[in-house]
């Protein structure tokens, strides 16, 4: 398609976003405001992630797009086709072959390697927003490193549910400094962020924020000394590949409550069976 510039955005827009990304990489976990562009899809469908991918992708890159771990869901297919039509880069479903992986809600099971880039689509970049609605105030709290508000939330979770009942978007502390939303990935995936050799970039289109984790960044889930981070995980093997070490989707297969568990990462599952 020749009607659009390479990767849809014009060069100046891409450069502006890359400048913000550089700032984000320089201050791991800190949210950088950026001039989020209008994209040809609605907010909430991955506009932030697409802008990040568009501004870093080159003709040599190999792109993989996943939505909830799967390559074949509507969102993933549309975004992949979008980049095929505006960049003509090679796309793949194989985690190991991709140089850029744009993701919504999952981190691939296959460990990433140095040189790969993981781009997250982020609906709400502010980890404190449910506790403190004022942006001006959350900025002060980040500046002062005052995260007792989040600990207060965890305290009440243990009091009420006897565990920290946060299943996704689990708050993490970056290099002991900034509190960060890992985007709505399951808590199960959070340990994969820690000291990951890949570059991790986060884009929130509607909220107009970018943030990043350079390779090998320290990522610690917030927890209490006597109630350590302990994500729940189904104790069932995948009914296709038999994997016990992957994150599962639960599928109800009849009207009698019979259920099946499948790897949520389709590429990982295919690679095993």
């Amino acid at each position: 398609m020749t009607h659009y510039n390479f990767a849809y955005l014009d060069e100046r827009s891409k450069r502006a976003i890359r400048r913000s990304l550089l700032k984000a990489v320089a201050i791991p976990g800190h949210q950088i405001p950026f001039a989020s562009r209008e994209m040809p899809l609605p907010y909430g469908w991955g506009t932030g992630g697409i802008q990040v991918t568009a501004s870093i992708i080159g003709s040599e890159d190999v792109l993989k797009v996943i939505d909830q771990g799967a390559d074949d869901t509507t969102n993933a297919v549309s975004i992949r086709q979008f980049f095929e039509s505006v960049t003509a880069v090679r796309t793949t479903t194989r985690t190991t072959e991709a140089s850029i992986i744009q993701t919504r809600h999952r981190i691939p099971e296959t460990p990433l390697r140095a040189g790969q880039i993981l781009v997250y689509q982020v609906p709400m970049p502010e980890p404190l927003f449910k506790l403190e609605p004022r942006r001006t105030e959350t900025r002060v709290l980040h500046a002062l490193g005052d995260y007792s508000l989040m600990y207060l939330q965890l305290y009440d979770h243990i009091t009420r549910y006897e565990r920290i009942a946060i299943g996704y978007d689990y708050p993490v502390l970056i290099e002991g400094r900034y509190l960060m939303s890992p985007s709505p990935i399951p808590a199960y995936d959070v340990p994969k962020m820690h000291r990951n050799p890949a570059l991790q970039l986060f884009g929130a289109g509607r909220e107009k924020r970018l943030y990043a984790l350079p390779p090998y960044t320290r990522v610690e889930p917030l927890a209490f000394d006597d109630y350590p981070f302990a994500p729940l995980q189904v104790d069932m093997p995948c009914s296709i590949c038999g994997a016990t070490d992957s994150y599962k989707d639960e599928i109800i297969v009849d009207d009698k409550g019979k259920r099946q568990y499948l790897c949520s990462d389709t590429d990982y599952c295919r690679g095993r069976s």
Binding site: L144, D146, L152, A223
Partner: protein, 259 residues
């Protein structure tokens, strides 16, 4: 540590809201372990004074000097925002007239009590739990209600909850802004009793703002009378209330309704 240093020393404080002067040359000293009552009618600048002392408002002129518990002297205006926030969350305490202004109504009572400890770096649930229990007992709230939301508490309990939440960090400077108004008389008396016990035990320096002379007499050792942003009279509590010198103080004392 020099025992003769005042915990708080205020010199010639001025503040205007637009053309309206609110504080006009306020000076006072507060010693460790002392309770100073600031009385006066509404609009006389009492609460504004507290806000300035707590670092929530910057004065247009004048100096506030604070001696920390470790004996370090610092000027309020020289503190960075970071230092100020830290002091506000541990070394100083502020008790609001309306406890709902200070409490987090969507967090359990226990959580409210231990928030300062978490801000000071305690991240051990068991420890926080024991501390919450201990302080709820100190302010005479039934520990069985620790996990309830503050919304289910009565007004007097809310105020006691707020006091536990502030005192848990053992502040050396405590500001009380009308802590008992809005409570019924029997609850007031119990609360004042409790406050006096806690504050005297911990040797805190306290500024108590109130328009209720009876509250001031019960708690404060020394009283300053404010009018139009100025301190018009200052002295020992009994002396000021029994033998007022300034005409305004005389008016104030004589206007208390007899029982």
């Amino acid at each position: 540590m020099d025992a003769l240093l005042p915990a708080l020393s205020v010199r010639d404080l001025h503040l205007s809201f637009g053309a309206q002067p609110v504080l006009r040359g306020v000076s006072l000293d507060l010693w460790p372990g002392e309770i100073l009552g600031v009385v006066g009618e509404s609009g006389s600048g009492k609460s504004t004074l507290l806000n300035v002392l707590y670092g929530m408002l910057a004065p247009s002129m004048g100096a506030v000097q604070i001696t920390s518990a470790e004996g370090k002297i610092c000027a309020l205006q020289s503190l960075s925002r970071h230092q100020l926030r830290q002091a506000q969350r541990s070394a100083w305490g502020y008790v609001y007239q309306n406890p709902r202004d200070a409490l987090r109504m969507e967090i359990s009572a226990g959580g409210n009590v231990v928030e300062r400890l978490m801000a000071m770096g305690c991240h051990h649930y068991g420890t926080l739990r024991t501390e919450a229990l201990r302080w709820l007992e100190k302010v005479e709230i039934d520990p069985a209600r620790m996990d309830e939301l503050p919304g289910q508490f009565s007004g007097g309990m809310l105020q006691r909850l707020q006091i536990a939440r502030v005192l848990i960090s053992r502040p050396s400077l405590l500001y009380l802004d009308e802590p008992t108004s809005g409570l019924d008389v029997s609850v007031q008396a119990a609360l004042l009793d409790l406050l006096r016990k806690l504050v005297v035990d911990a040797q805190m320096a306290v500024v108590l703002v109130t328009h209720d002379l009876a509250v001031a007499r019960l708690l404060a050792g020394r009283i300053a009378v404010m009018r139009y942003g100025e301190i018009v009279e200052e002295g020992l509590a009994d002396q000021v209330l029994d033998d007022p010198q300034h005409p305004y103080t005389q008016l104030l004392v004589s206007s208390v309704l007899p029982v």
